[in-house]
Symmetry: C2
Subunit: 388 residues, 2 copies
Amino acid sequence: MPLVQPSIASAAPAPTIDIRTATCADHRPTPYLLLDVDRAVEHHRQLAAALPGTAVHYAVKANPDPVLLRALAGAGSRFDVASPAEVAAVLRAGATVSDLVYSNPVKKRSDIATAASLGVRLFVVDSLEETEKVAEAAPGTAILARLATSGAGSDWSLSRKYGCSELEALAILRAADRLGLEAAGLSFHVGSQQRDPRAWDAPIAAAARVFARAERLGLAPRLLDLGGGFPAGLEGDCPPLAEYGAAIDMALTAHFGDQHPETLIEPGRAVVADAGILVCTVIAVLRRGSRRWVYLDAGVFTGLVETLDEAIRYPLLTSADGGPTGPCVLAGPTCDSADVLYERTPVELPLRLSEGDTVRLLSAGAYTTCYSTVGFNGFAPLATVLTG
Amino acid sequence: MPLVQPSIASAAPAPTIDIRTATCADHRPTPYLLLDVDRAVEHHRQLAAALPGTAVHYAVKANPDPVLLRALAGAGSRFDVASPAEVAAVLRAGATVSDLVYSNPVKKRSDIATAASLGVRLFVVDSLEETEKVAEAAPGTAILARLATSGAGSDWSLSRKYGCSELEALAILRAADRLGLEAAGLSFHVGSQQRDPRAWDAPIAAAARVFARAERLGLAPRLLDLGGGFPAGLEGDCPPLAEYGAAIDMALTAHFGDQHPETLIEPGRAVVADAGILVCTVIAVLRRGSRRWVYLDAGVFTGLVETLDEAIRYPLLTSADGGPTGPCVLAGPTCDSADVLYERTPVELPLRLSEGDTVRLLSAGAYTTCYSTVGFNGFAPLATVLTG
């Protein structure tokens, strides 16, 4: 199962339209996600260029749109999957099954068996119990042990729920080998929308220690999954992608010397977030006490779950931009009190914004359509409209 | 548009099976919601009996299952709807359109027009702007002005996002009358899963003040929507339903004297929560540091959004019950760190609980199937299985 760099030299050129202002020809009813598939492919190419020699596995969970998956597969992308349905989706899109990493660390036994029957050969685990499950349900395959990280520097830490210590990782690799699995290496995740390129250093150092100890035990770990967390253009500054590539390369050299392991990354948000705009309409602008409330026809239950706790802040454009602005609370259309996007830290919107104006949430291509409810309050799930 | 008490004397008798332990004959794969429609109808009957003379409008948003809606309509239920799709759903289920209240206070203008074209005649508003919208999009219909409440005593307050002051309500009623609408009365909502029957007293007092002032201005408000908030059997004690009925009746008499207005309630959770059990399976039981983590095949993105902030706590039964128990963190199946149900306050589960055991979340009939995502991580939306 060699992990070579996918061919992306022939990827489509960057799109020429500006999706920040592009409109749909058919003026369809809002809300919808305006998705520029070519732009996502371009982001994939940029990530591959920033990390030469590292395989780029698109994290399907971020946006499983079938046209997007087909375009990415066509451009040589590999994939990070979390369920048998995601395996089937990328295979339908033309992916090669040996190019998949099944990265959900805690899995249903029957899901492991189904994925293996579809040809998946690489699973992430973070416990001895999961290692035994994989050995039983997918004998002869390979595993990566997932190390816990601090998550510091990220907008959304991922390591409370998953990840093990260095000692546990070593025990997992030994158990895998004993159980007839390939103890292929390690994985980690520095947290979603990670703003600090140096965040990769500590887990790479930890991985190098585990690799060294594993090698002394006669094992041959070869692969390091550097996870996702590469940022999109949400609010708040991030360094350019090249700094992430340089910091990761420097960390690999510092801790592994000249013998870098094979590496892969699992970007989701960094590929597709900036390729999507959530287009919605102002339902009402109301005064509530001293505050101005703006109600949109999209909300927490139609794709904007990531605004819960106001962790993820989407840049906003409106059809009323240009004049003076003022703070306002932003709310969704359902009659649920939890359907409020930004209240603790209000957003600045034009004072002349009113019913019927269009609001565009930028960098909304990731974790929106897939987070949408099936139809809470009778409002349809967030639709996707492709540009171009 | 008379609002008479629906006929529920002929409602089906209470079911004889105990859905806490009932199983499906076909042993279908978990997770699913096991829904006892007869039990929901019985809860509807109990609510009507606890509040004689008050019309019971089932809040469709809590669970729009078509079989459930048909059973409730057949038992004489009225309905509380939040969107044109919910109007269409209850009409398909056999509801009478004059028995609907469209209670979403902030609506898209086109949605008001669609609802009116389907025959809806009663809309809730909480601002002059919305009143003007209804007058324009649904001329000649009736409105209720929604008063803000404190939400104190409830598990989930609903009044940050909606509701106006007494003075604003009076202005809305006057505007409605001037715009050719019927200024039918007022509504309020004391917050979801309200544990204190006295919570209705202050808003009923406020409503009586607004009614009196409106009458002095020559208006004839006649209808008071007492909202929802009646509790289900979630964790934490609540008084019996009869105490809610008695407290509300006492408040109406204290503030309106012998001339009670027409009244309606909008229960969702109190009708359907205790009629549903979310049946799921343990994927893994793992030690993470000092804590035991139990991973289920249902989670935040397959219907359990109400566990966010751990506000709603479902009673739990497992197939391993009976022996000693210990605290554990409860998590869902997606590889999203937000997919953790209870962590700050762990749940007590059997020490012998292990992979493959069944876990039943009780009182899960409301706000689960409808809150489910379209398929995050490739996991299917929560299915409904009917008992009996």
